[in-house]
């Protein structure tokens, strides 16, 4: 399957990665090569096969829905590029 520039642009947008306009054709070519490789999967008869959801046959562990940790505000914010007054700071989200 061949990926066009428009699809490459859409995927980059969905992935929230800025790709300059002049790099889109190259990106589309790389996607096409990888997807061409993946296309082989269409040769496999998967009728009646359930998609694998768990690597080992175990039920995911559960625990009581209670608070187990807390009061870590300082540690949580320690690595933030911009933190103010105990919060993560980001550019304006709503006009």
């Amino acid at each position: 399957m061949s990926i066009d520039t428009e699809t490459a642009r859409r995927v980059a947008k969905l992935a929230r990665i800025q790709v300059p306009e002049d790099k889109l054709p190259e990106l589309a070519d790389e996607f096409s090569a990888i997807l061409g490789f993946i296309e082989q999967l269409n040769e496999v008869d998967v009728d009646g096969i359930e998609p694998m959801t768990s690597v080992t046959p175990q039920r995911l562990k559960r625990r009581d829905d209670v608070v187990t940790d807390g009061d870590q505000q300082k540690a949580v914010l320690k690595n933030a590029p911009d933190a103010r007054e105990g919060f993560f700071a980001v550019p304006k989200v709503v006009e």
């Binding site: 790709v19 490789f37 040769e43 690595n79």
Partner: protein, 492 residues
């Protein structure tokens, strides 16, 4: 003192217990070797202060375990409290975790010493350590007198290089598609990827959560057994961590494999496989037979589809896991222009912070999960994955104890050799190892010979789930028979 860094973990453990050496001496010897080996670019964050403090504490401890006082290298993918942890990515520049991964907590709890953080491919995506923000790690092995620098493999390239060059006694690695076993084979060392769920993933920067497993990379099979014991065990903080007792893996090393059934899968005999790899495989088969194992031809019919299934599933999971790198909570944030909003911040931050390979895989993952393609790609790949797992279950049900294959399709290649190649060419490095991750099985790479240029070649053994002890014992028998003792000549 440089001889001390050449010790195996088992040898150092015994010498420490007898009081013949101190952890401080071992640690200083390693730190001195690391300082002389800058050109290998294996250690990317050195932690001599941490190391010497841990070594002193180990020397003061009276009842230390097997790893007490043993100096190790830690892959940059493991979160280490207060110590730079970047997953070799620009997007985690400056990140110093406020917490310690379960694996390193367990290792340090048992007295191990951290020498520093090791180079790797960015977010463990790569097979040559060439996608790292720190630059390439270099293999200590060279082709005879040829000056060309070779890849140590990837993604755990720094770990492989450091262990092979005797900069440390052992190292941690992680393996999502072959990232422990391929570099181990390229560097002439031993590495095991345990059964999925054996080792906690908590605090290890996630790449593809259903495939990632951590494991040891060491100078021999016994050392892998010792280190794996220390790394394994149930962890309530990883919901896929198995609540299963961890046996003594070292005690399983008897070398007796009489009557064990070793499967030789015909699908791993690839077209165009180099003669040296075929011969290595045949030699390894003969060694196990001579040791008393029964050799059986087996079939794993869906092998061919493992790599394409992997290149749907791994990028899909990566695109989800790497969504957290958005410039808000940690790491890099792009400088914004006037009027830029939050979307521009995400897009610019991720474009600046992620390297080319990581960007591509995140976008491939985004594509295969997007509306309209989810069934055609992602669900189909998960169905094929179920078939690949069933192939293994069938041969194990027929009485096969372990499967012998080559570890890699070639010896270490030149850094830069794949620069202009199609990305799929690089992916083929994992053709023999990736099936094991998809099926969640344990797999070990053991050095078994050298090629015409004197470069190491490895064989892979694949075991039944949760039977790492038996698998390591078969690897031990192979190691004893292969008698691989070659070492890289020192040029660094």
């Amino acid at each position: 003192m440089s001889e001390l860094s050449k010790l195996k973990i088992s040898e150092a453990r015994d010498a420490l217990k007898k009081g013949e050496v101190t952890s401080v001496e071992l640690t200083e010897a390693c730190l001195s070797e690391i300082d002389k080996a800058g050109t290998l670019n294996a250690f990317v964050h050195k932690t001599p202060e941490v190391a010497l403090e841990q070594a002193k504490a180990a020397d003061a401890r009276k009842d230390g375990g097997d790893l007490n006082g043993i100096p190790l290298g830690i892959k940059d993918l493991f979160c280490t409290k207060g110590v730079a942890t970047q997953a070799a990515s620009g997007i985690l520049e400056g990140f110093k975790p406020e917490y310690e991964s379960t694996v390193t907590t367990q290792l340090f709890g048992q007295g191990a010493v951290m020498l520093g953080k090791l180079n790797m491919d960015e977010f463990a995506m790569g097979s040559s350590n060439e996608t790292s923000v720190y630059g390439n790690a270099v293999n200590p092995w060279k082709r005879g007198n040829d000056a060309a620098e070779l890849t140590p493999g990837g993604s755990s390239g720094g770990s492989a290089s450091a262990v092979a060059a005797d900069l440390c006694l052992g190292a941690t690695g992680t393996d999502t598609g072959g990232s422990i076993r391929q570099p181990a084979a390229f560097a002439g060392i031993t590495g095991i990827k345990p059964t999925y769920g054996r080792v906690s993933r908590w605090g290890i920067v996630a790449f593809a959560s259903s495939l990632d497993q951590a494991g040891p990379m060491t100078k021999d099979v016994r050392d892998s057994a010792i280190m794996l014991n220390a790394m394994s065990g149930h962890d309530p903080k990883d919901s896929t961590s198995a609540d299963i007792a961890v046996p003594d893996f070292e005690a399983a090393l008897t070398g007796d494999i009489r009557g064990k059934v070793i499967g030789i899968p015909k699908e791993y005999r690839m077209d165009g496989m180099p003669e040296e790899i075929s011969k290595l495989w045949a030699d390894g088969t003969a060694m196990l037979k001579d040791a008393g194992a029964e050799i059986r031809d087996i079939t794993l019919p869906h092998t061919k589809y493992a790599l394409p299934a992997y290149y749907v599933i791994a990028p899909a999971e990566a695109s989800s896991n790497l969504a957290r790198y958005d410039g808000v909570r940690f790491g890099h944030r792009a400088k914004l222009d006037a009027g830029d909003g939050i979307t521009e911040m995400y897009e610019k931050t991720r474009a600046e912070g992620f390297g080319h390979e990581v960007q591509n895989r995140v976008m491939i993952g985004t594509y295969v999960l997007s509306a309209g393609f989810y069934d055609a790609y992602y669900n189909r790949a998960r169905k094929v994955r179920a078939l690949i797992k069933r192939d293994f279950e069938n041969v194990f049900a027929d009485g096969v104890d372990a499967i012998l294959t080559p570890a890699t399709p070639s010896s270490a290649f030149e850094l830069g050799a794949m620069k202009d190649a199609d990305p799929v060419q690089m992916y083929l490095n994992d053709v023999f190892t990736v099936t094991v991750n998809l099926a969640g099985l344990p797999g070990v790479a053991v050095p078994a010979g050298v090629d015409k240029d004197g470069l190491p070649l490895g064989l892979q053994l694949i075991g039944r789930p949760w039977e790492e002890g038996e698998l390591l014992n078969t690897a031990y028998a192979l190691e004893k028979a292969a008698q691989f003792v070659a070492k890289p000549s020192r040029w660094w």
